[in-house]
Symmetry: C2
């Protein structure tokens, strides 16, 4: 295929679009790949559509290779299946809802667990039919609060979603592993730098779950990894290694001190270091890590009443609300407001301690670092009073532990070796072992070997196909433009006619035709523009190999430029096809 | 590619689905190609999706061949562009409308004239950029009042829509002709029987327009054709050849008769034939065609007041409301109700004549057959009175002619030769010369040769891609199942293992592998089912060539069955691949 720039529906832009902040967004618009229609809603112009189709091709090839079968379900879906699983409501404002002329409720599918479960239920009935993996590549719709960065977070976007159906948990684990391997091959073929992080499953429910995060400083997902061990996890999924309990015998008694004007950790630490007897007890200066901060929230399970919860964490850390949220899910939580405090006078703001929590039967969860034998300075439940050397396991107990404290660079890695480093990434894939949440909602059973109904177990796996185009652009570009990997490029070779001589033009046409014959996809810049304009556009468009038919033509040579390395070399015109084909 | 039925996500059904009335719907469901999700909303299972992709491939190849460029615009579209052209309102209940979380109005695109015009406006600015043809293959949405026959008339469906942009009318005519030719190639390749009919442009506005109708007795579109000349037209587009005017001199005078109890044409004709003097005037028995029926309607242009209109047609014909509607468009019309008559006592129901219409300045349009010199029996504007020998051009005039009378088998063909025959068809393609309606709405200009702005002219062209799957099935099936043409089949060869012998199975596997190597797409029925079940399924699924590895295997022969002709022949197993590849 030869695509002539004289004819291609393409106008490159010299200026960055005003609404673009990240490189991929700027470059994809400037190079004429995409155009904005509305917030989070984009058009794909010819070159953009080609890249998208290439990415889809890679995704399909690897899905087919694990035996997945492609089908296509509607994007416009009646309410009932999503009502059955509760997601009609749970999705909140993120769901596009509409009514038809008969006033029946519909939605635009954000993900299709319900319909796939119903589709399998409609066809299959025996354990012999399973396992099966079905997938589709389809427009999805989510009414994002903050659509972002062009096609990186759109409201209409293309997703590959697949679903596995197995009779046994072992089968599900195998379907999951097949997806995991297929996803690695897909992202490897696209040349992406990414990590696989353990993830909480969020609103999807279910158990084992991993995210594929493309490394990117503009990513919205924070993850941590241990460079020494390769461990990587979503911050929400990081577990805190609990230290060994310490001996309690011989520790000084807990003592209440007057600590006027110390409602914050900083003022409390200042106070402690100003009191010699306190410093002497510890044998070293007091730090924020020696204090125990009790944070009060209220939590609520869907359909239930609000309940009080206290979270105790070392004073040198803040609560990470995303981690807290993940730990409490499916319950939601909210911070206490002044009314809540006023209704509970035993909660003395700034001076809350374990005693009042216990006496008033407030549920109390501790950071895993608060093991028996650790000594704490914490609130004494009276204004201007703290207790020193309150020892866990001797002076107070809790109802359990909770992962709510922030994770920091240098924290020990949960796998027992090395320390964590924070990084940012963009979610490009997500694999879930959903289990039976959705099959329970629809009574999806098959008859087992003994003719008894067995509830099917399900996995759900997604790749943001249109997002991948942005992610590739984000990882592979320079200040001149895009630099597509071989598997995603809109063309294989970009031939620039940089010589007005008629013979050079004929020669370039002939080279393009031969490359086409050799099965390569060619862009031929046959426009009446200056070489400078053509070179700039070639770099902006980002096809990996650029062939320049320029001044050297008179001497029988053309130039081959590698868009990635920037390397250029002259070769005899007659050998170009051989070199590139 | 080898697709094993032991693994394929497919369950054929022996019974017709309860909601299916037409063969294509029954068979596509029974053969496991599609499944219903909601009214007019379907899922594509693996075999159905393959056929759909094949049809898309043919469409794309022929669009690319005329230089059309594929892009992809969103299906979720903001209201504003459709507001600018008035279609936000004009589409009425047929449009799916929704709001986003910020309460902004959106719609699901039913067709994309607006966005394509805006897309071209965004990129192009010179006459040198034109002509350009852009297309997409995309999910479209229309909230049909009566979704019908499975995927034949869906509410979510796939359409290829393309749009041409030209500076001149001649350019538009050429883009139109290129589409016309491409559409013929597409439908020819798919083996469809179809006609091209001149069409009214309906709600799309604009001028020249043709429809491609697949011949089908279950079609919703009625068209007529002249078998002698090949003329074909939508009934709405048929023009009535006006006969030559007749001499007026010597015709008897118009005479009013008492015609008690003759408010209908039938009673009037009976009366006339019972009066010798009336029959003698004509010199033959009176027929309904000698009477002139004046039908009163009210019409209204968008945003205007209702206006009275009288339509005079020969009494042997009914008004065809679709033809009347097309003639009056963009004005709408309604029949008069009792209140309307009560408010206008000069309209004597059953006895309305041209005189009262003239005296009361009612707009009056006549069937083209009512030429000067024709003699009519018509109302005399008083109860129980008619006038005989009222001569057009002598005794009454009208404000013009109108195509409102029904078209009937045997009517003369508008092209001057032969007579019309009515037939039914399914619309599979539609091509329009839109003109400047949409470019005017968005001020889409380019600079012409002289640097002056020139308004671009536009064409719009659509193919119902998902509908085509149903139409092919409708035209190509028998009582046993589907019969796909080579360009649309989900596989090239269907190999049935109809022999339990292990050697036969190995042999079938080897044949399938060789066919696959030869580039053919193979379905291999390797299930543990009886030969009878397998044969039935093969016929139902409808792959054009079936290879049976059965009893003959022991003698080194296999059977090749042609699904279309039904012909079966035995061939040496060793030659199968050679024969089919």
């Amino acid at each position: 295929m030869i695509t002539r720039l004289s004819h291609l529906f393409l106008r490159t832009l010299r200026e960055d679009p005003a609404d673009a902040e990240v490189p991929s967004h700027k470059l994809l618009v400037r190079a004429g790949y995409i155009r904005r229609v509305a917030p989070g809603i984009y058009s794909w112009l010819p070159l953009g559509l080609r890249v998208l189709r290439e990415v889809e091709r890679v995704v399909r090839e690897e899905m087919d290779a694990i035996g997945a079968q492609e089908i296509s379900l509607p994007a416009l879906i009646p309410r009932e299946p999503y009502e059955a699983t509760g997601r009609w409501t749970e999705y909140g404002d993120g769901l596009f809802r509409l009514k038809d002329r008969k006033n029946a409720d519909y939605l635009l599918g954000p993900t299709h667990e319900e319909l796939f479960a119903l589709t399998v239920k409609g066809e299959y009935s025996s354990y012999k039919d399973l396992p099966v993996i079905l997938y589709q590549v389809q427009n999805k719709y989510r009414d994002e609060e903050r659509p972002r960065a062009g096609i990186l977070r759109g409201r209409e976007f293309i997703m590959k979603d697949s679903y596995s159906f197995d009779v046994t948990d072992e089968g599900l684990a195998e379907s999951y592993q097949r997806h995991r391997a297929a996803y690695q091959r897909i992202f490897d073929r696209l040349g992406l730098r990414y990590v696989i992080v353990t993830a909480t499953s969020g609103a999807m429910g279910g158990s084992a779950s991993e995210e594929f995060l493309a490394e990117s400083t503009i990513g919205e997902d924070t993850y941590v990894r241990s460079p020494e061990t390769g461990y990587a996890a979503n911050v929400e999924a990081v577990t805190t290694p609990a230290p060994e309990p310490l001996p309690i015998d011989g520790l000084p008694e807990a003592t209440v001190f007057d600590t006027p004007g110390t409602p914050t950790i900083a003022t409390l630490v200042d106070w402690a270091n100003s009191r010699e007897e306190v410093v002497e007890r510890l044998g070293r200066p007091v730090t924020a890590a020696d204090t125990l901060k009790n944070v009060l929230v209220k939590t609520r399970l869907p359909g239930k009443e609000w309940e009080l919860l206290a979270v105790g964490i070392p004073g040198d850390r803040d609560v990470d609300e995303k981690r807290l949220e993940a730990s409490l899910a499916p319950a939601e939580f909210a911070m206490l407001d002044d009314t809540d405090f006023a209704a509970r006078p035993f909660l003395v703001k700034g001076y809350i301690g374990p005693r009042a929590l216990r006496d008033n039967k407030v549920r109390y969860l501790l950071d895993p670092r608060v093991v028996p034998g650790t000594r704490w300075i914490t609130g004494a439940d009276a204004p201007g009073k703290h207790v020193v050397d309150l020892v866990a396991g001797r002076d107070f107990e809790a109802d359990g532990t909770i992962e709510a404290a922030e994770v920091r660079d240098g924290d020990p890695s949960p796998d027992g070796e090395g320390t964590l480093v924070a990084a940012r990434g963009i979610e490009i894939g997500h694999i879930f072992q959903l289990g039976r949440k959705y099959t329970n909602a629809f009574d999806l059973d098959v008859l087992d070997v003994n003719g008894k109904p067995a509830r099917v177990t399900m996995g759900s796996y997604g790749i943001g196909v249109s997002r991948l185009v942005a992610v590739i652009a984000e990882q592979m570009h320079d200040d001149k433009g895009l630099r597509w990997p071989a598997e995603a490029t809109p063309a294989d070779v970009h031939v620039v006619i940089a010589n007005k001589d008629e013979q050079a033009r004929t020669g370039a046409e002939s080279i393009a035709a031969q490359l086409d014959d050799a099965g390569l996809r060619v862009i031929l810049d046959d426009r009446k523009a200056s070489p400078g304009v053509k070179f700039k556009d070639a770099e902006l468009i980002g096809v990996p190999t650029i062939v320049v038919v320029g001044r050297g033509w008179a001497n029988g040579v053309v130039e081959i430029r590698d868009r990635v390395t920037g390397e250029a070399r002259e070769v005899p015109a007659g050998t170009v096809v051989e070199e590139l084909a």
